[in-house]
Each structure stands twice: as C-alpha cells, then as structure tokens.
Amino acid sequence: MFLTKEENNLSKEFFEKGYIIRPAQNINALSEIRNNLIKKITNYLKIKKNVDPNNFLNNIHKEIPVNKLNDLRVHLINEVNSISKFKNLYFQSAKKFIEILVGNELAMQKKISLSIQIPKDDSSLLPVHSDTWSGLSPFEVVVWIPLVDCYKTKAMFILPPKHSSELNNQFKKFSRKSSEDIFRKISKKIKWIDIKFGEVLIFNQHLPHGNRVNKEKETRWSMNCRFKSIFSPYADKKIGEFYEPITLRIASKMGMNYRFPKIK
C-alpha cells in the first residue's frame, strides 16, 4: 500500500474510534454555509436586524415554537439545497479527509440533511440506528457538520466499534423488542461526541448512533451528508435518486464509453 503516514494514521483512528474530528479543511466554506443558512432562517422568521450567528442559532427556541420546528427544518433543507454551490461548499469543508477515507471518485448524497434539536424537545429524535440497517450502503461515510458547539446531550452519540461488535453478537436477543431496548442495553457504553463549530466529524455509520432529548440550554444545529465511492455497492438508496457523482474522473468516463471495434 502506498498510503502516506498521515493517511494511515487517519484511517487507523477512523477504524479504531469509529470517527474522526478535524478542523474544517476550508473554514471559509463552513462560514459561508452557516451564513447562508442564517439568511434563510431570518427570512423565514421575518427577522430584519443583524444577528450574532452563535447566539442566534443557540437560542432559536426563543424565536419559534416547537410545533413549527419541522416546517422550518423542511423549508431550510429545500432552500439551502437549492443554492447551486451549497453542496460544493459542504464537500470543500472536508474534502481532504473524505478522499483519504473513501477515495477520490465520489458520489455524494443529493440533499444535505439538517438537524435542529431544541432543548427538551422529544419530537425530533433519531432513535438508535445504524444507517446500514435502513438501506444505506456500508461503503459510505457520514460527514456531520455542527453549526454551533455541541456537547453532552446537545450532541449525537455513537457506540464505539468494540461495543458495537458485542451488540451485533447479541442481536438475536432483541427479536420482538424495540430500538429503545437496544438503547437501554448500550446506554452506558455510548460516546457523546464533543465538537465545536469550525470542526467536521466523519463517522462510521455502521456503528449504532442517534440522539436523545437535548437537556442542555442551547439548541443544536447540525448538517449531515453521505459520501461513497461511485463504483462501490449501493444498497436501497441508489445513484441518481439519492446520490450524484461529484468527482467522476476522465479515465472512468472514457472507460464507460469504450467500445471494441466491430469486425462484422
């Protein structure tokens, strides 16, 4: 293998911990992502004054009732994904790390997703799951970007690889039980991801993960998007409908168009 020391170290950390956290490769891209989002929120909420990004996002629960939250979330997902360069900004914020972990001929999730978790809200929870359990390819990684500092229950949790293997070995025990039973089983072994705005998290989505009621005083804002090698296996979510090629290389294009000469 011709991987560099840096590439090997990053891969080893990803494999052993199940995730990596690094400063965003392009902090300007990340700031542009956040500014775009804030512009969309202030338009939606008809707020005309300038806002301090951190303070505004962390305290959004003072501006919007919980029953309007999902409408805002869906509106923002559609709005930010309609900005032509938005996906590229997202990619640029973690490009180097994605290319080390996945490769350089990539398919990207077509719609970047957004999570908003206001304090004490139990309506936007993501029960414990692994993405592969719900139709995503085991050949992909998730790039998770916080738009505010995240810690404790304001963050997401992940079950470290060692405990994940133990859980997989005992899975038959959960027949006829619920995902909450799984959570109860792993609750003392999960790791809460502590991450600041300006950093990116890339995690192994095979590992059970999710969130719980945010018991902190601030709202969590984060975005997530999946990346995989174009030619690696897809599961239920396919090229075209869920993923799009973003860095198809010329040799592949030429290969896909190649035809042998016909002798007859």
């Binding site: 077509k110 390819s137 085991p138 050949f139 174009i230 030619f231 690696s232 296996p233 897809y234 396919k238 090229i239 075209g240 409908e241 799009e244 090629p245 198809l248 294009k253 290969g255 896909m256 168009n257």
Partner: protein, 131 residues
C-alpha cells in the same frame, strides 16, 4: 404554466419496477411542486427495448413544453438513441424532467450530468455489488 407530457413504464427498467399508479403519483406531485401542468402519461409498451410511446411524445413536441419521465433510467439503453432524443427535445428548446431524480435537463452541462449517471448505472453490474 408549462405543459409537460408524462411518460411512465409498464416494464422494469435497469432492475427497478414501480407500479404505474405510483409513477403517476410521483409525476403529479413533482409537477404540482414545480408549478407545471401535468398532461396524462403515455405508458411505454411492455416489450423489451420499446420506445414507441416515447417516439409518439417526441412527435407532439410542437404542442407541449416538454416531457417528464418518472426516471432517467427509462430512457433508451442505447447510448446513440439517447443522444438523438436529447437533441430532438433540447434542439426545439423544450424541457426534459426526471421526477425521481429531480433533474431538469436544459443544456449541454445537464446532458453530461445525466449521461454520467446513466453510464454509471449501466457499469455498476460489472462492479462489486454484494456485501
């Protein structure tokens, strides 16, 4: 409001099979969201490689603003045939939409984008596919 002719399949396409009423639901919802007028779908014949219904839509292009496919993978598998279709539609300044993929084709760049996806899909059976 632009008028788009729906185009759906009565046979599987590149390994996918979707009931016709679901294909129509997706087209209708897409058109309503994009504020487009949805004209009753033409259903492609069931026999393999048929694009006779598609040809019929192409022949009425002067009376409509474009065509909306349920999926881009319902275009002919033959690479040359697809290019002729792009040329016929876009050459008349009409629109091609693919509802499931949420793609609107309008220029050379979008043709390349769609072709890349199509060729990747055709190549994938030759790649690692099980895990």
């Amino acid at each position: 409001m632009k008028k788009l002719r729906g185009y759906i399949f009565s046979r599987p396409f590149l390994g996918e099979r979707v009931p016709q009423h679901i294909q129509n639901l997706v087209l209708r919802e897409y058109c309503s969201r994009k504020k487009l007028q949805f004209l009753l779908s033409f259903v492609e014949y069931r026999f393999e490689n048929s694009s006779l219904m598609l040809e019929k839509v192409l022949n009425e292009l002067n009376r409509i603003d474009g065509i909306i496919f349920y999926s881009l993978f319902q275009m002919p598998q033959d690479d040359k045939e697809r290019k002729v279709i792009y040329k016929k539609i876009l050459g008349k300044k009409k629109e091609i939409h693919f509802a499931v993929e949420e793609i609107k084709m309008k220029d050379a760049e979008s043709v390349e984008f769609v072709e890349n996806i199509f060729l990747i899909k055709k190549t994938l059976p030759n790649c690692l596919s099980k895990f």
